[in-house]
Amino acid sequence: MSVTLVKERYASKVGEVVLGATPEQGGTRTATVTVGGDSALPFLHFEGQMPNRPVIAMEVTDIVPAWQELITRQIGDVLNDPAAWAKKCVDEFGADLIFLKFDGADPEGENRSPEDCARIVREVLAAVGVPLIVEGCDDPAKNNEVMTAIAEAAAGENLLIGFAEQDNYKSIVAAAMVHKHTLIARSPLDINICKQLNILINEMGLPLNKIIIDPTVAGLGFGIEYVYSIMERARLGALANDKMLSMPMICNIGSEANRCKEAYVSAEEYPGWGDLADRSVLWEAVTASGVLQVGASILVMRNPAAVRLVRKNIADLMSE
């Protein structure tokens, strides 16, 4: 006897967002990347469409990062050259996008000038054809200066720039609007703030298809279940036609997963945890797998071996 399956009929779908711009669209990218558009829960192809597969952005920093050797060894001698590093991520590791982070702009660190940051963005734009995600440093005031300079220098490229927060969003929203970029709206693991922030940004005039939600990720073992449920609720909200929760979501997996001790301590130090090489790759990859199951559209990742694994997982889940 044939079983009548339960197929949900959703009122709406996740909005589609285009990143990057080709020469015809006023940029210099060789191709754009479209995310979102899902009309069902992740990978449930039997009841809706997932027109765009989740994509992986690889992290590149403007200063040589203090990452563990297992990762830096794979990246090699390009770590001090953001443009060459970005090119390697695209050519060798198959990154769909580049996530460029200006840790060097931090006033308490190297205190790189906004002009200098803008120059590096132009260099990376020249080195690769994929769309760029750019974030400044963790100092809000400096971040505004840096991102304003970058937005202007890369006008027309439709960068994904970050990030707007509930108590600091106006300058970056203005920069995105004036120079035609897309914006990351970050909320601290709180779906109400997430929604409120999207409303505030939208009220300034930035259209909803120019916003990407960053729900703030926690790594595996350190609160990923909070992220998981918040994203699941946001996705259900989008499908139930809540427009202010209907943006695609970006998850910064690399930095969070690699902050967890399990991703970097050696087997000598913790013999019960097993060999570090595979454990480290899986810590990042399983964190990614968790958020993929609740609707992540853009994964920001670090470890090339984890990227390979997650790309395979996405391909498996997209095959019908």
């Binding site: 945890w273 097993g274 060999d275 797998s289």
Partner: protein, 443 residues
């Protein structure tokens, strides 16, 4: 999933004879729905109605128990934020009976090593699935017996051949293994074997339609201790099947699928296999059988399982008493944090990395993080002072300096006055503790 009074009323005899002590059948139905009456009070209710009402009030997914404390099923929601997931996915390691005795010894040692301690929690592997790949019933029974002898974990006995399962089961009935799989070809023998020995059995068919047919046939044999296997072995198909089975059981009360589901990985490359298994752990598999048994592979998967199955309403907490990291002495610094386990272990991890033996005093904030606790008035200077007094830290160190989280710098003045200790404002994020600790001077 309680029935409404009207649902119950439809099944009643509608005589309005008052023999149940209630004026009308409808009123009796209402009383049943609110739990004020029992169905037995009605002498005229038919067997069919009794069955329908009993099964409707039964849990949507049956709890199936086997082996050493393994509980499968008994779940009530599709999303953990709706309530919680109750029974963490049972993880089982595939052991083939084609392995040589030496290989078996290695495998067994690996399985024994699958016990982990992290952030104050203990994770352990649940059991072993012995698989009759050899086709030889004697070898299968022999390997099953060896496994049973070497580990007290739960056992699963897998063979298409009921005779082979019988040979292995005879000696292990007291361990209550899960057996299988019952298929269209062997289900009578397999289900009867399970019934005679009171052990649960896996029902396997290719696809949901075939599975539905087979479950109904198997139920007709008068047994209901089932675990379902929809036969798929690729991630995308298995995800769809797991979702369909859970939805039908919970949303439609579809009884043939009201049983826990077991998933088998299809990938042979171990890292890919863990990625595949992570999908099934998040999405409704009550048990997963894995080929890899290396610590580095299982720790991430077991961590995901623990995370997903955490009750969203009850944060995990640590004991709000004085903890020490390393060989503490009278010069060790004192850090204050909250008893939310994530907060506490983030601090502990960093303090440990700093290599400076230190005291950490988590304040009882009902398991909330620093800012949440502060906003809720649970991280007040009075409370911290009280906790410092109660734990006797003053007798353990000779300095009088206490370090508080950077986010609550605002309480430092009042805390200094109340406690009489010098208050140092630490970094906002625990990740800053290592560099902070290097510049710290206790006077």
């Amino acid at each position: 999933m309680a029935l409404t009074g009207l649902d119950i009323y439809k099944q009643l005899p509608k005589k309005n004879c008052k023999e149940c002590g209630v004026p009308t059948c409808l009123a009796f139905a209402m009383a049943l729905a609110s739990g004020k009456a029992a169905l037995d009070a009605c002498p005229y209710v038919t067997e069919a109605a009794r069955e329908a009402l009993n099964s409707a009030s039964a849990p949507p997914i049956k709890a199936v128990k086997f082996g050493k404390d393994s509980v499968l099923g008994d779940e009530t929601v599709l999303f953990r934020h709706d309530k919680t997931f109750y029974h963490p996915t049972t993880l089982l390691i595939h052991v083939s009976d084609t392995l040589s005795d030496d290989e078996l010894r290695v495998k067994l040692q690996e399985i024994k090593n699958l016990e982990f301690e992290r952030v104050g929690l203990h994770y352990s592997i649940d059991g072993v699935a012995v698989v009759n790949d050899s086709g030889d019933a004697r070898r299968f029974a022999q390997v099953a017996a060896e496994m049973a002898e070497s580990t007290d974990k739960s056992l699963v006995l897998l063979s298409e051949d009921p005779q082979a399962v019988k040979a292995a089961l005879v000696q292990l009935v007291s361990r209550k293994p899960l057996i299988g799989a019952a298929t269209a070809a062997n289900y009578e023998a397999m289900v009867n074997l399970a019934k005679e020995n009171s052990v649960p059995v896996i029902i396997r068919a290719e696809g949901l339609d075939a599975l539905n047919d087979l479950v109904e046939k198997a139920q007709a044999l008068g047994y209901k201790e089932f675990v379902l296997d929809p036969g798929s072995r690729t991630p995308v198909e298995t995800l769809a099947n797991l979702t369909h089975l859970r939805r039908l059981a919970i949303k439609k009360k579809f009884r043939p699928f009201g049983y826990p589901v077991i998933a088998f990985t299809g990938k042979s490359e171990p890292l890919e296999e863990i990625m595949e298994a992570s999908i099934y752990v998040a999405k409704y598999a009550s048990a997963v059988v894995l080929k890899t048994s290396s610590q580095a592979h299982l720790l991430p998967l077991m961590t995901l399982r623990q995370n997903i199955y955490t009750d969203p309403q009850k944060p995990i907490q640590v004991e709000p008493s004085l903890h020490s990291v390393g060989n503490v002495n009278e010069n060790s610094p004192l850090y204050i944090t909250t008893n939310f386990s994530l907060t506490y272990y983030s601090v502990e991890g960093e303090v440990e990395t700093s290599k400076i033996p230190s005291y950490i005093l988590p304040i009882d904030t009902d398991g909330t993080s620093v800012l949440t606790a502060y906003a809720a008035g649970k991280f007040e200077p009075e409370k911290i002072t009280e906790a410092m007094l109660a734990c006797g830290i003053a007798d353990k160190v000779k300095h009088r300096t206490v370090i508080i989280p950077g986010y609550v710098a605002v309480i430092s003045g009042k805390l200094a006055v109340l406690s009489g200790w010098k208050v140092v404002v630490g970094p906002r994020e625990s990740s800053g503790i290592v560099s902070f600790s290097k510049t710290l001077s206790l006077s």
